[in-house]
């Protein structure tokens, strides 16, 4: 694959108050407004049924938003434009390759509708074949391809038509874990190379972190948080985001006087106006194990699971619920040990209360 990053391509996408209510009255999506910059990769992340695919299909033109919603490509209102005239490129979860055509014919299919001579089309197909690394497969039938190869063909086909926005609906979900990781980095490189506006739907938070310039975390048909991967990870807006993105310890305690008081002691926190019962989030890797004697928060190790690159401890007695702690793989700790916990105050994030 070519590696140079290119100029931003495609259009800016503006989603304005797009909600979706199905015929039987169920609300699939609360009205959502989002601005996606030209060339940006926006990831829609959430559990199944959160409305992320519905939102993607609205941008594609496969679903119509409720009456008040509008979709803009740059400044053009495309809400009433049918999908075949929107110039989008779409990769489906099942890839939806045409079984009656071979690989080259699949990639060339959309080019027929964008003008250009047969020669130009052939050249474009060759270009895409090279870009996605599927040389030699041009004349294969679809049922002779592996899952990873299908994914690349689907991507090549969607990109071939030089779409104004690229829409990817869980493109890696159908693959097994090892392959998924490899294709994820290939996909990342490809998206950077193309520099095209991209909307990417996934339920996998690692994928979202790796690929997204920004992430929209969705839940039950509404947006829970929009932000860069780091923002989402380090300063989640609420408990749902904290728990859905990465591993999180949710601590219930009482805050006041620069500290959060828990069952097993106290943790120093940054200055806050919040007083009384509060909810805080700490990532497992932000907690360090110290000697129990001079620690302000202590607990007992109930399990140690060694995963090679690190080990994860479960500590009980420190807070209402067991706390997960990630420690270096060389540290010798065993179940039953009494340990002290230390956390940098900046790594403790207070969350709004009253949300599941």
């Amino acid at each position: 694959m070519k590696a140079q990053a290119s100029e931003p391509h495609g259009v800016a996408v503006r989603i304005a108050a797009c909600g979706k209510t199905f015929g039987d009255g169920t609300r699939a999506l609360e009205p959502v407004s989002l601005d996606i910059a030209r060339g940006e990769t926006m990831v829609l992340l959430g559990p199944s049924g959160c409305g992320k695919t519905t939102l993607l299909r609205m941008v594609a033109g496969l679903e119509r938003p409720d009456a008040a919603g509008r979709i803009f490509f740059n400044d053009a209102d495309v809400t009433d434009v049918p999908i075949e005239q929107r110039k989008v490129g779409m990769v489906f979860q099942s890839y939806a390759l045409f079984p009656n055509m071979n690989v080259a014919e699949n990639i060339a299919y959309g080019l027929k509708f964008r003008g250009g001579s047969a020669q130009e089309r052939k050249a474009r197909v060759a270009e895409l074949v090279a870009l996605t690394g599927i040389e030699g497969l041009e004349h294969r039938r679809i049922d002779q391809l592996s899952g990873g190869q299908r994914q690349r063909v689907a991507l090549a086909r969607a990109v071939a038509v030089r779409p104004s926005v690229l829409l990817l609906d869980e493109p890696l979900t159908a693959l097994d874990a090892a392959l998924r990781e490899r294709l994820r980095s290939d996909l990342n490189r490809l998206l950077r190379t193309l520099g095209i506006t991209t909307i990417y739907v996934t339920h996998d938070q690692a994928e979202a972190m790796a690929l997204g310039d920004r992430i929209v975390v969705m839940r039950k048909g509404a947006v829970a948080q929009v932000g860069a991967p780091r923002d989402i990870y380090f300063t989640p807006a609420n408990r749902f985001v904290a728990e859905f993105v990465g591993a999180a310890n949710i601590l219930e305690g009482v805050s006041g006087a620069g500290a959060l008081t828990l069952r097993g002691g106290r943790l120093a926190i940054e200055k806050t106006s919040v007083k009384g019962p509060s909810l805080a989030m700490v990532r497992p890797e932000s907690i360090a194990i110290v000697a129990a004697e001079n620690a302000s928060l202590t607990g007992e190790v109930t399990s140690v699971s060694f995963t090679g690159d690190r080990q994860r401890l479960t500590i009980s007695g420190a807070a209402e619920r067991p706390i997960m702690v990630d420690i270096p793989n060389t540290l010798m700790v065993k179940a039953g040990d009494r340990v002290g916990l230390s956390v940098d105050p900046s790594a403790i994030r207070l969350l709004p209360k009253g949300e599941a």
Binding site: I83, E84, F92, P99, G110, F113, A158
Partner: protein, 265 residues
């Protein structure tokens, strides 16, 4: 030992069932070439009955094939788009329409024929032509085409294929011709096989709808059973077999070839 006994038992049973079904057909065909069936095979073999059948009923054979072919064309033209529309649209209305299309299977052919007669008796040119029988056959065979095409549509997730073609810029007509029809080919072939077979053998409806000038093969067969020597009717059966079996084999081979050379995920 016990396994072998069970196997032998099953084989015997299968052979008996096969014989039960095949022997009458074989006897009937044999009768068609026997000089005098009541005296048995000892009376000798002859082709005279077959010649007689050909002289009397050649036109019914041609007409049957004409009607079967025309029925196939009409059910293809109506059935595939209908199946596509019903599948993509989905919902309660689509299910209701599907049920209505299937209704002619549950209603006796005579009732359908009666309804057609009541409605179109006034259009005497139409009533007198073979097109009237064609209309009946289409009503009767359409559900088979629609159903088998719809079955393949659900098997290959045609909706997503359609969506992906549309995202690439294909108009609805192009999508239908480039993606939907080629990928539905096994279902279309299976449906075609069924439609042609049903149309060729259809009797109930046709018997009500035919005029003396628009007899089809099965109607002619009934006619010969009712009014001719048993040998003539049997010779007719023989002719019928000779016509339809190569046709069915050819279509089946065509369908298998279509499946092997194309499609499937």
């Amino acid at each position: 030992m016990r396994d072998r006994l069970i196997f032998a038992g099953q084989l015997l049973f299968t052979l008996l069932v096969a014989a039960f079904l095949i022997v009458p057909a074989a006897l009937s065909m044999l009768a068609g070439v026997t000089t005098n069936y009541f005296r048995g095979i000892s009376s000798g073999f002859t082709l005279q009955w077959i010649v007689q059948v050909w002289d009397l009923y050649a036109d019914t054979i041609g007409r049957s094939f004409l009607i079967a072919g025309a029925t196939l064309v009409v059910t293809l033209l109506i059935g595939i788009p209908a199946a596509y529309g019903l599948h993509v649209r989905g919902g309660r209305l689509a299910r209701a329409i599907e049920e209505i299309i299937t209704l002619p299977l549950a209603i006796p052919g005579l009732a359908i024929a009666l309804a057609l007669l009541l409605t179109y008796n006034g259009f005497s040119d139409f009533r007198r032509s073979w097109l009237f029988i064609l209309a009946g056959h289409v009503v009767f065979t359409l559900p088979f085409m629609v159903r088998s095409v719809m079955a393949i549509f659900s098997a290959i997730d045609v909706k997503t294929l359609d969506e992906s073609a549309s995202s690439l810029g294909a108009s609805p007509l192009r999508r239908f011709l480039d993606v939907i029809v080629p990928n539905a080919r096994p279902g279309i072939l299976a449906g075609s096989l069924m439609v042609v077979t049903l149309s060729l053998g259809e009797f109930n409806l046709t018997w009500m709808l035919h005029t003396p000038l628009t007899k089809t093969l099965p109607v002619g067969l009934a006619d010969s059973y009712a009014s001719m020597r048993l040998e003539v009717a049997s010779a007719y059966t023989l002719v019928f077999f000779c016509m339809i079996i190569p046709l069915l084999i050819a279509m089946q081979m065509f369908a298998t070839w279509g499946e092997a050379s194309g499609v499937r995920k």
